[in-house]
């Protein structure tokens, strides 16, 4: 008798935990769906111009980078498919000025791997 009671208790526990697990699983699904609809709402109300962003070709970027880094002998800059990678080192007070120059060259992206001293 004790064994049967123990078994039925175990089955009951298993059944309960399965139901609870299923409930847990279904909850994130609901919040995912509501999250998606929020995103659609926000993009519909954002005033975004549809013109694509103009990205400079690599040779123009290289020329621009040569000029921008001329006064920063410890900085190296490379352009690859519009992505500019900065390596080397710079002092923190000069970093904004360099970044301002690089940002105005119409790069696709700027990867700043500079060591800031």
């Amino acid at each position: 008798m004790i064994q049967i009671k123990a078994k039925s208790f175990l089955y009951g526990f298993l059944l309960l935990s399965t139901v609870q697990f299923a409930e847990c699983k279904s909850k994130p699904k609901e919040s995912d769906t509501s999250g998606q609809s929020t995103r659609i709402d926000s993009s519909a109300t954002t005033n975004t111009p549809s013109a694509p962003v103009e990205i400079a070709p690599d040779d123009a970027l290289q020329t621009g980078l040569r000029d921008a880094t001329k006064d920063y002998p410890d900085v190296k800059a490379e352009a690859n498919n519009g992505e500019v990678t900065l390596t080397g080192s710079i002092t923190r007070d000069r970093l904004p000025n360099l970044m301002q120059s690089v940002n105005s060259l119409h790069p696709k992206k700027i990867i700043n791997n500079l060591t800031v001293k």
Binding site: T48, A51, R66, L95, Q100, S104, K108, K109, I111
Partner: protein
């Protein structure tokens, strides 16, 4: 459009401080903010906010291209750190140096070539191209 939330303070400040032709676009997980700032102070303020949101500009998710509008005939101050400013024959550091602008000297803007280079004239009538970053445009 997650990045316009991250950089909301920057976008709001650009709008409220009179940046003209302002464009905010997100493409391939990079936010592009373009426009013309009414003064060097506004540009500096935007860069300070950018540096606050993304310290040392590490995230690689923003291209901030807001430049000070150049007015032909206006005066600008040479703001090199200590040395003289090279005035060149053409817009590029590979071009010959035709003169120098002294630190804090006032020069006249003749024409804007692009966001990097402007054609200027000194009071001693030296005419040539200088790198915009070393001019404080007024």
């Amino acid at each position: 459009m997650v990045l316009d939330i991250k950089y909301k303070e920057l976008i709001d400040t650009a709008k409220s401080s009179g940046v003209s032709d302002l464009q905010v676009r997100e493409q391939n997980n990079v936010l592009y903010i373009d426009g013309n700032a009414p003064s060097g102070n506004v540009k500096d303020e935007l860069w300070n906010i950018y540096n606050k949101i993304d310290p040392d500009f590490r995230a690689g998710d923003l291209v901030l291209n807001v430049n000070v509008a150049v007015t032909t005939g206006s005066k600008a101050k040479v703001i090199t750190e200590s040395s003289n400013l090279n005035i060149r024959k053409g817009p590029g550091t590979d071009q010959a140096i035709v003169g120098k602008g002294a630190h804090n000297e006032m020069v006249t803007i003749l024409n804007k070539t692009n966001d990097q280079w402007v054609l200027i004239k000194t009071d001693k009538n030296v005419e040539g191209y200088v790198y915009t970053q070393y001019l404080e445009l007024t």
